[in-house]
Symmetry: C2
Subunit: 503 residues, 2 copies
């Protein structure tokens, strides 16, 4: 076994080097979105391009292929679940994906995306799709080429989806999401028809930014985000990023007259960060120490943001503290606050959407990007297609493309296959949460006394420390005993929202 | 000339790559001292070590030596001052220095310094030199080995000094600094004997941090620091750092009950940053687009901090603004404020010292580190030697080594030869300032109306855009017509401080 150990150790060492380079890309990205001066952008592009190239060339070094082949011959591959077998199996996937992509396509994609993102920003501010259209056409064409390089069984879109949710098959996903839609649309109708509606204006008062920051930090630390291994900084577009095994940062933006944006945003990002803070440290820089998929990642952020932090029990604990921070809440009853933060209201913008309609936003995008990759929908027809289908789901007329098909950064940035992972996250969050409750008891009773560690530890044991041992679909089954479905999500939404609306 | 151009272009391209790697080291350092979470330190060490190694190996690639030899054969070297010749000459110096240092010594130094800095922090907090002593002994020994690798004409210390002030010779420097000391010591006596002393307690009142930040930013922008190409962030130990040609950041720390610390610190760092913001952009990543030495760098920061911002004319312009920001200054007359910011008072800590005594702090350190490298002073005898000589200069008894020989980070960090550049900066600042005034007229009259661009543009033309065209000693002569001496500094200090003290 000495030779095998030697090969394995060399792979560890190569991957530690790749991880350091990737951590620099994360730092460059974090800094770009937080403190970098405006004029620093051009050189930041040079820095990022250099290290992206370095990471790609190190990740596709033929030496990796040789070492993997050596280990596979010695029986490391297959369905074994010991750490070394898992790492060899996942390294193989990463390597095979990396080498399938020719350097020329990587470079053309990078250049195209820089231009298309600029065009998108310009088009969005001018509400003029025609500025964006030729760029998006190029992006779609390159995405299809990329899918062909990777290969697929049924449809090209699967190859793109797999970059964010390995193992996912879009025809399966379609069935799950359609069954979700079939429940959500009548639910939304029922809620829209309800007469006893929450009053969300109480969330739009004076909430001083320094108080918002202090309260959000107290809450994030309270649910288990470790600030000694992280930080909270200000950005235009909130995100979580990992700069090292003990450096998992979150960002947010503050609105001086709106509480929810920063508060629930911080809890959401803290959910992401707690996943990475609780990965197995001793497997850092190997698949066993990495998060498994975007969908599972999003399940962690959404569970803390929604299933936990939009619950009554959570606020029975935190509301007195909130009232100490914010004089605006002093005359507001807990029940009114609770109802306000659970308001359901169709709106044009995905990132501002509530828990229920959010999934409809995702469904629309999933259908559209799949049709674009199939070639059934032409880019030039995108605005019309969007507006027509948006109206079907939301019964709203899109006023312009900036509030319609041009609202999100994803397509211009070449992120096809990413959107559905948001709904996978929501579905997984509900299914994991129900399972946690069945195993560790009354979660509300724990939250009421500020006890969040039992849920967090359960997530750490069942999900975080599993790394990439299982694929995400298998992980859901291992943890909950069944495949992913929409049953728990629908139960959760009905159980919470109907009472909020007096239904 | 085609082949030469090809070789030159290849060197440009190699140096652009090295610059990108160095910019990452700068970003890692900036982040470490601003926003990195505490537990991120260990991995930050791995990241820094990796990129330091990469930078060293790229900088000492034999290909560089071959290309330089090719260009030198074609007549690029020598005393020519055209851009290509200057770059080839300076690249040669950098390369020859780099390859003289064996990788093993570089690595041993890195490891030693990590440990010695930890020991220094521990020893300083416990006021126990014995904890630091064995580490400092190792550092001094390695510094002497380093000096031997580089080589020198007269004494080993010169080889270390040259890393920060290329071309400087310590025996020459000794003459200049001793003549300065011979003037400063009796000046200090005279000032100490004066009965009409400034009242600096007005600087120790409530100065809200957000106001301090806003005012410091207004002043920094007012003297010409470009915030579109920079930023101001909070740190424990203020510094300026360059993360790219258009990304020159400054940092500071705020004291809620003391105005000067942050205010003059920001102006100081802005002075450093304006030097780098005004380097020739088209020569970025080549010596012609780089600062020439630490001494010249320090001349820029000190000139703005002291010669400009501790002057009456500066405050005739800015004081009304300061009074708008700070209610604490509302009852304080301009003249009393001016005298307070120019108080001269011997104290133990260098970084808190005034304009006059600061140079005595440096003299003491210059003598001591030279004797350590010579082997005339043993590390074990350092505390006694320090305390005895400190008393000679300042007539004060050092209470403990944390306020004595262990106050500065430099020696534990292996920065021998760095201290004298602070006084070189002060001397150059005075000499450049006097020259500027003789060429562009009454600077006070300009400052009084908030006109700082004439001085800044003069500095840009005479110093910033020269890059490394001349060595620093030659640059002083080119700009002022004579070698560096202490005449202008003494005149400046007497001309300002005697009236402040009614002498």
């Amino acid at each position: 076994m000495t030779d095998n150990n030697k090969a394995y150790d060399e792979l560890i060492s190569i991957n530690k080097e790749i991880s350091i380079i990737n951590s620099i890309l994360a730092l460059l990205g974090w800094d770009e979105q937080t403190y970098m001066p405006t004029e620093g952008a051009e050189y930041r592009g040079d820095q990022t391009a250099y290290f992206s190239g370095l990471a790609h060339s190190k990740s596709t070094d033929p030496r990796i292929g040789d070492l993997l082949a050596e280990l596979e011959t010695a029986g490391f591959e297959g369905d074994k679940l010991d750490p070394q077998s898992v790492n060899v199996r996942e390294w193989r996937k990463d390597y095979d994906l990396g080498v399938k992509l020719p350097q020329s396509l990587v470079e053309e994609m990078s250049k195209t995306i820089v231009l298309s993102q600029h065009a998108w920003m310009d088009a969005r501010s001018k509400k003029d799709f025609s500025i964006f259209q030729p760029h998006l056409e190029k992006v779609v064409e390159l995405q299809r080429q990329k899918a062909e390089c990777f290969g697929y069984t049924t449809e090209a879109y699967d190859a793109l989806l797999n970059l964010f949710e390995p193992g996912a098959i879009s025809s399966d996903l379609e069935i799950t999401l359609n069954s979700l839609r079939d429940e959500l649309v009548p639910m939304l109708q029922k809620i829209s028809d309800a007469t006893n509606k929450p009053d969300s204006t109480i969330l739009y008062q004076d909430f001083p930014i320094d108080k918002q920051e202090a309260f959000a930090k107290e809450v994030a630390a309270g649910i288990g985000y470790d600030f000694d291994r992280g930080s909270l900084n200000v950005t235009a577009h909130p995100f979580m990023t990992g700069l090292g095994p003990n450096d998992l940062r979150i960002t947010t933006r503050y609105y001086p007259k709106y509480l929810n944006g920063a508060l629930f945003g911080v809890i959401h990002e803290a959910g992401h960060a707690m996943y990475e803070q609780n990965l197995l440290a001793e497997y850092y820089a190997t698949p066993l120490g990495e998060s498994v998929s975007m969908g599972i990642h999003e399940s962690q952020s959404r569970m803390w943001e929604n299933n936990v932090a939009r619950g009554m029990a959570f606020w029975e604990h935190w509301y007195p503290t909130a009232q100490k921070y914010f004089t605006a809440l002093n005359g507001v009853k807990l029940d009114d606050f609770y109802r306000a933060i659970n308001e359901i209201k169709p709106s044009f913008i995905r990132v501002e959407a509530d828990e229920l309609t959010y999934n409809l936003h995702i469904l629309l995008r999933f259908e559209i990007e799949r049709e674009l990759i199939r070639g059934n929908l032409k880019v030039e027809d995108l605005p019309g297609y969007w507006n027509e289908n948006f109206n079907k789901y939301f019964d709203l007329d899109v006023p312009d493309d900036s509030q319609g098909c041009m609202q999100d950064v994803h397509w211009g940035a070449g992120l096809f296959g990413y959107f559905p992972t948001y709904s996978l996250g929501t579905l997984n969050a509900a299914q994991f949460y129900a399972q946690a409750e069945s195993e560790i008891g009354d979660l509300d009773a724990m939250f009421r006394v500020g006890e969040f560690s039992k849920l967090r530890n359960w997530l750490t044991e069942k999900i975080h420390t599993q790394g990439r041992r299982f694929m995400s679909q298998q992980l859901t089954k291992e943890v909950t005993g069944r495949d992913l479905d929409s049953v728990d999500l629908i139960n959760y939404l009905k159980g919470k929202l109907y009472p909020v609306y007096g239904i």
